[in-house]
């Protein structure tokens, strides 16, 4: 026992040392930014990124207007996979557009992908990509497409006032451009406000701007996530200027919002053509987000929960829909056999 303990101690000591090393390195790297005072960063943002606005929650009467104009659709997708390495796996996708108004107000879309049968998907890739067999792109495409499809069908069915997508809008622009254009056009045509709410910000707009202004060296990459951590006050929104960042190329505008007491900020994307509404949308997001939550509007959380393909569900669907032989021969990995 004692020896084992010693061993464990040795291993963990090494690991601990390495981790300490990491800590030192990160500290050095971020020192510059961490050394800047909160006020300095905020002034920098106000000067170079965009103004900071204090959002008020929408009063109930205002919210009711959104209801009267058709309600709000929340859109999210989910995927799950069974199998091991390519090509022996299958992914299932589910998209959901759920409207706050009316009963029976959900549109579900479903799809699958497996490299074993990808006739439909082949044309997505260009020649180069086919050669390198970049599956990643297909997988991203499938998930994005199903969300956009759900949103489109939801729009047709419910004619809402707002469509709230879970995640960045730019993602759709990149991953399923054709469908995205359709969605964008449809929203613009019908005057439906289209927004994306980003839980995990992956951009580095502020960092890049600092590099541009020589505050940071150009090999230092800082994400907005860490820059904004704890920076904004609750209900503060940074309205990013159109010429900052790269989203406007895709016809989008965005903002950062601290939407709850949690120190992380969330992102908000909106069509450039609907930029006028961004403050209202910020207020809507704040109104729908519980102050003690992680900052995600409750409606998107509800949609997320309903769309999720759990492992149990996955198992159930595949076991009933696929022949046992096919399932076992093609998709069951040694690992998966634990539950079968």
């Amino acid at each position: 026992m004692e020896r084992k303990g010693e061993n464990m101690y040795k291993v963990s000591k090494e690991l601990k040392d390495r981790t300490k090393e990491l800590n030192e390195k990160l500290k050095t790297k971020y020192n510059k930014v961490f050394q800047m005072s909160k006020n300095e960063i905020i002034s920098y943002i106000e000067e170079n990124i965009g103004e900071i606005i204090k959002l008020e929650s929408l009063p109930l009467e205002e919210l009711k207007k959104y209801y009267e104009k058709g309600g709000i659709i929340g859109v999210d997708g989910s995927k799950n996979r069974i199998g091991s390495a390519s090509p022996h796996f299958v992914e299932l996708y589910q998209g959901l557009a759920k409207c706050t108004k009316g009963q029976d107000s959900s549109v579900y879309k479903g799809d699958f992908y497996t490299p074993l049968y990808n006739e439909e998907e082949k044309n997505i890739l260009n020649e180069n990509e086919v050669k390198t067999n970049s599956e990643e792109k297909i997988l991203n495409y499938k998930l994005s497409k199903i969300e956009v499809d759900a949103a489109l069908e939801g729009i047709n069915k419910f004619n809402p006032s707002v469509v709230m997508m879970d995640g960045s809008l730019i993602r759709y622009n990149i991953e399923c451009n054709n469908e995205w254009i359709k969605l964008k056009d449809e929203c613009e045509k019908r005057k439906i406000i289209l927004i994306g709410v980003i839980k995990e910000i992956e951009t580095s707009i502020i960092g890049n701007s600092m590099i541009k202004n020589k505050i940071l060296k150009d090999y230092e990459i800082f994400g907005d996530r860490e820059m904004l951590y704890g920076l904004l006050e609750y209900k503060d929104m940074i309205l990013i200027e159109t010429n900052v960042g790269n989203k406007n190329e895709a016809g989008l505008s965005s903002a950062f919002i601290r939407s709850s007491f949690s120190p992380t900020a969330i992102g908000l994307d909106i069509l450039e053509s609907q930029r006028d509404c961004i403050i209202d949308m910020g207020r809507l997001v704040v109104s729908l987000t519980a102050e003690n939550s992680r900052g995600v509007p409750l409606w998107l959380d509800i949609v997320d929960k309903e769309v999720k393909i759990s492992d149990k569900m996955m198992r159930g669907i595949l076991e009933t829909a696929l022949d046992r032989e096919i399932l076992e021969k093609l998709f069951i990995s040694e690992r998966d056999k634990r539950w079968l």
Binding site: S57, L60, Y67, D104, S287, A290, L298, I302
Partner: protein
């Protein structure tokens, strides 16, 4: 989503016996009946045995986040009410096992009366006991036959309610096949009240019934004031109350050795030696007097101490009568002294005197028999101790009369007619206790085992089923189970009835007057609300009300007595007391009288004025 509960569906994994159903709009009730429309097996009838509601967003924890009220308000404003995501789930047990597991996804609907009639109504109105309303059946009464409508009231939440559901009619005739009823429930559970309703129904049908009533509560002369006047029922001709010792008693001449020993036992534990003395001294056809005299003489003789001293007494006798008496004592002494120890003889004497003082030997049970033959309900009242003994004698007597009649009929011999009858008792565990012998237990056990053949049935109520003799419990084919809190009793009930785990878990929480009826006739457990009784117990007055009322009654009386003497001057009190004594025969001391005047002052009926010399009450 369809309004009106048409969105009920079978969900999840099903079996041939149990299924789950879910609904988005309709909440389920315990014990309600539903029809599952299985596309392969046709309609299947089931009963809700567990009901739950579930909202996956309440307690508002979504992905670890707690939603606050403000956000919910906002969501509601844009059209989404989180409460609407509540789903209702019920576990259903099929009344008859299905051949295959029920098809998941099958639709579920509310049955019509005609579909459940056979299941719910087991007897015609005229021949059955209308005991109450089957709970949660109100949605099936729409097409119920008129004869079953408006035949009873329920009393709930302190008010009388009209019948809403299907009546529970106990099939009395089925007792011939499935004899004997047990009524279990703790105090305040509605057990005595349920028993009262059963007895009222028996009276309506003129079923000869004996009720052992240790609580002096089974009186049916007080009509329930809550029942509308024109619907009240008069039972005064249908029942008769007898108190042991006052109205009825034991005919000493008819006692057997064993009867007498049982009776004496009730006065105090009998030793072997005492039993032996009874066997020796008691002669068949002895009257109370003859037996008493024999005992007394033996005692007198034994008190003298020896044969010589008795002979001395004979010689010293001054009259012929005295001499004769001592000669008889001598004879008895010679016969019995050796085998009957003095202490035992004295013990029996003491017990015999005690019984006699209670009046048991001065009456007989002829009246009981006569009333039974008239189809009346006979209530026997007395203390538990007296009833234990008397019932032994009484039931033995009646049961054997019935038995002899039936046996004679079978053999083709003529015998006096004696009707079939029902024996009812509360606190049955006192009459047939588990674990030790008691005189009444053997006769009850005999009736429980073979009474069916002779048309003699038991209805035994107890709050402690665990303490009731097991052989008897096993013979109770129908059980009424009211609220029970004690774990040991719930355990017993679970073992002795077919109530399910879920039902047994509900037992501690039943409302007073709600009862599970587990019956071999029904083949399952029915959840029933006992109907409002037509009559009320004489014990319903709150004892604290009684104290208040008595106090003011008392004051009123005293005031009446003195009102002619008002104003009362303190020095005159002694004369007033004398006058009152002369007029009414009531004597007060000066202290008590003054105290009572003070009380009247306190309650404001009199005023006390102080003069320089004395107080005046006016």
């Amino acid at each position: 989503m369809v309004i009106g509960g048409k969105d009920m569906k079978v969900v999840g994994v099903t079996t041939c016996q149990e299924i789950y159903i879910g609904s988005r709009s309709r909440n389920f009730r315990m014990n309600e009946f539903l029809i599952i429309q299985d596309s392969y097996q046709g309609d299947l009838l089931g009963e809700v045995v567990e009901a739950q509601t579930y909202n996956r967003y309440i307690p508002l924890n979504i992905n670890g986040d707690l939603a606050d009220n403000h956000v919910l308000e906002s969501l509601r404003a844009i059209g989404y009410d989180i409460d609407e995501d509540t789903i209702y789930i019920a576990k259903i047990r099929l009344v008859n096992e299905a051949s295959y597991p029920v098809e998941t996804g099958s639709d579920v609907r509310i049955p019509e009366f005609s579909e459940v009639k056979d299941l719910m109504i087991k007897s015609s109105l005229e021949e059955g006991l209308i005991l109450g309303e089957i709970k949660n059946t109100d949605q099936m009464v729409k097409d119920m036959d008129d004869e079953f409508k408006d035949i009873l009231y329920t009393f709930e939440n302190n008010e009388l309610n009209e019948q809403k559901g299907i009546p529970f009619i106990f099939n009395l005739r089925s007792m011939h096949q499935y004899p004997h009823i047990g009524v279990f429930g703790g105090s305040g559970s509605g057990k005595s009240f349920g028993l009262r309703v059963i007895l009222e129904e028996l009276m309506k049908l003129s079923i000869p019934t004996i009720v052992l009533d240790p609580h002096f509560e089974m009186d049916f002369s007080q009509e329930g004031e809550y029942i509308p006047k024109d619907l009240r029922k008069d039972f005064s001709e249908k029942f008769k109350c007898f108190q042991v010792g006052y109205h009825i008693g034991v005919k000493f001449e008819e006692l057997s050795n064993q009867d007498l020993k049982n009776l004496l036992e009730s006065s105090g534990r009998m030793s072997d030696s005492m039993n032996n003395v009874v066997d020796i001294l008691f002669k068949t056809r002895d009257s109370y007097l003859s037996f008493h005299e024999r005992l007394k003489m033996l005692m007198d003789a034994q008190e003298e101490g020896s044969l010589d001293k008795i002979i001395n007494k004979i010689n010293a006798a001054t009259t012929a009568q005295e001499r004769k008496g001592w000669e008889r004592r001598k004879e008895i002494f010679l016969n019995y002294d050796k085998i009957c120890p003095y202490s035992s003889v004295k013990g029996i004497m003491w017990r015999l005197n005690r019984l006699n003082n209670e009046g048991i030997f001065s009456k007989d049970i002829r009246e009981v028999e006569e009333n039974l033959k008239m189809g009346k309900l006979v209530v026997i009242q007395g203390s538990t101790r007296i009833l234990q003994v008397f019932s032994t004698y009484l039931l033995n007597n009646l049961y054997h009369k019935r038995r002899e009649y039936k046996d004679a009929q079978y053999k083709g011999i003529a015998e006096d007619y004696f009707p079939p009858f029902i024996i009812v008792t509360d606190e049955a565990h006192n009459f047939a206790p588990k674990g030790y012998e008691s005189p009444s237990k053997s006769i009850l056990r005999e009736i429980s085992q073979e009474g069916r053949k002779y048309g003699t049935f038991l209805i035994l109520a107890t709050q402690r089923p665990t303490l009731l003799d097991e052989t008897i419990t096993a013979q109770l084919n129908t059980k009424f189970i009211f609220r029970t809190v004690r774990a040991s009793d719930i355990q017993t009930i679970k073992e002795e009835t077919d109530i399910t785990e879920e039902e047994s878990r509900r037992l501690p929480y039943l409302k007073s007057g709600d009862v599970f009826i587990s019956s071999a006739v029904m083949g399952r457990t029915v959840f029933v609300r006992v109907r409002a009784s037509d009559t009320t117990s004489p014990h319903i007055e709150n004892p604290f009300d009684e104290l208040v009322r008595n106090k003011s009654d008392d004051e009123e009386k005293f005031y009446d007595i003195i009102k002619n003497s008002i104003p009362i001057n303190e020095p005159d009190i002694i004369y007033i007391i004398q006058d009152i004594e002369k007029e009414t025969g009531i004597t007060y001391t000066v202290e008590v009288f003054k105290e009572r005047l003070e009380k009247l002052v306190q309650s404001g009926r009199l005023k006390k004025e102080s003069t320089p010399f004395y107080d005046v009450y006016r």
